[in-house]
Amino acid sequence: MAAIETAGLTRRFGELVAVDALDLAIDREVFGILGPNGSGKTTTVLMLTTLLRPTAGSARIAGHDVVREAARVRERISYVPQDMAVDIKLTGRENVSFYAALYGVAGHDRVDEVLGIMDLADRADDLAGTYSGGMRRRLELAQALVHEPGVLFLDEPTIGLDVAGRRAIWTHIAELRERGMTVFVTTHYMDEADQACDRVGVIAKGQLVAVDAPSALRHRLGGERISLQTDRLAPPVAVEGARLVRREPDRLVYHADDAADAVPALLAGLASAGVRVSGLEVAAPTLDDVFLALAGRQDEGGAFDYRQFRNMIRRR
């Protein structure tokens, strides 16, 4: 029995299919779900945390159905949304004690313990309003850990944090996995997912397009990544055996089966277009490339549908 199992998990908002027949089995690992904005990541998390009813299909947490046994599920999970919601007028300890009381965890020992785990022991009696962003996020993790959940859901846990803060969060997440916890995390940061997740699932338009270890996904893409530094926005020069994956004001990124063939052709093509190339880099593909290849550029679709967006928000 896996910690998280879904079968055909689907959620519609009117015409929009936010999550489309998701099949997942996740157990004792850090599982990252990657996807562009609006791809269905948060909707998935909301269904798995019993905050939103699936339209079709089912999901089980530690063997309990998220609809029929919602209370059971909630005893076994913790959910940290991306909003960074800690009470700034309460101390760190009060913030955690509050959750301990709601989870029915007796005594102060466990509160002290989780504050210690999250390196907040020496600031526990300061108001959370005096905490940095990274500390607030760690405080939220302490709240989430107080009842020793089997499954932890984190929505964009490192958003808005500085480099040190991010690293600390991922280190803590890795420790939790060592303790046997299953961590389900959504993130936009591919490099972080690459380093911290045991497996990642790429979701696009509500559908799971790939699930694998980050290195396996990179390997699956194969070939090499050619990054050219240009002096201005270059035209999308087409070369046989190389595919343009990104075009930025001062950079072109190609993916090629064989860089040795593609690079000279690309340089020649750019030179004839009058573009000066100031730098060149050839490397194995990153998870970014994998992501773009799999999920594509989704935000160019139709106009932003405000009514649909509002409906989604309201039904949360």
Binding site: S78, Q82, A101, L102
Partner: protein
């Protein structure tokens, strides 16, 4: 500890540590007592302060109760509500904790107003009267906070909530029996005032100072309060599943 109390204690702590909010809410009812209660020349009574004091107590509860929904809006917007909903404790506890907090906050504010009224020279507040007034204000507070949290469930942002609050609070107060007895009201106002729930609470407190006590109104107020709590929890369940 009971989950309702846990949520209640959280809100109380946050509120008391807000310092400024604790006192600013008292300014309006205090101003009514001083600038209207003491200053208005009236013909129908020679002790206007005693007449208006129950009305201002109910006004204090009215603004505290109607404003209370914003506390739920903040929890909703800032992401607290989603965290709470994912907890194993009964979800209704979130709502009941809010209702209790809003009501108790209103009672604490009303206490300050009561002390102020006595200091200014109000004579109606015997111990029995104080106990009775607290009882009525509590029931009225539960009614209002259940109502305002129900609105908060459906309003998307703070501005929208403030607009609804402004739209309801002032008319409810001015069309009640807070400022003058029914006998001196123009007929159109009298009709409205008699059916205004705010008048029910005010008349009840006044009737204790000048019996017979309107026990039927008390039963009615309790019934409406219970109905409102039931409605609010029904809506809460519907919105949060």
């Amino acid at each position: 500890m009971n989950a309702v109390l846990v949520y209640f204690v959280r809100d109380m702590r946050r509120w008391i540590r807000g310092r400024f909010n604790v006192w600013s809410a008292l300014i309006m009812p205090a101003a009514w007592l001083v600038f209207v209660g003491l200053a208005l020349p009236t013909k129908f009574t020679d002790h206007y302060l005693d007449f208006i004091a129950p009305g201002i107590l109910v006004l204090t509860m009215l603004s505290a109760g109607m404003q209370g929904g914003s506390s739920l809006i903040f929890d909703k917007i800032l992401g607290f509500l989603n965290k709470f909903l994912a907890l194993p404790s009964p979800r209704e506890a979130i709502l009941f904790g809010k209702i209790l907090f809003i009501t108790v906050r209103g009672l604490l504010q009303a206490s300050v107003i009561m002390v102020l009224a006595v200091l200014l020279g109000a004579t109606i507040f015997t111990p029995a009267m104080i106990a009775f007034a607290y009882g009525v204000l509590f029931i009225f507070g539960v009614l209002l906070s259940a109502f305002s949290t129900a609105i908060a469930l459906y309003v998307e942002d703070h501005d929208g909530y403030a607009a609804i609050n402004a739209l309801l609070s002032m008319p409810l107060f001015f069309t009640s029996s807070a400022l003058m007895p029914y006998s001196v009201m123009p007929p159109w106002l009298r009709t409205i005032a008699q059916y205004n729930p705010v008048s029910f609470a005010i008349d009840l407190i006044r009737s204790f100072a000048a019996p017979p006590v309107l026990w039927a109104s008390l039963v009615g107020l309790v019934a409406v309060a219970l109905l409102m709590v039931a409605l609010s929890s029904f809506l809460f369940r519907r919105v949060t599943v």
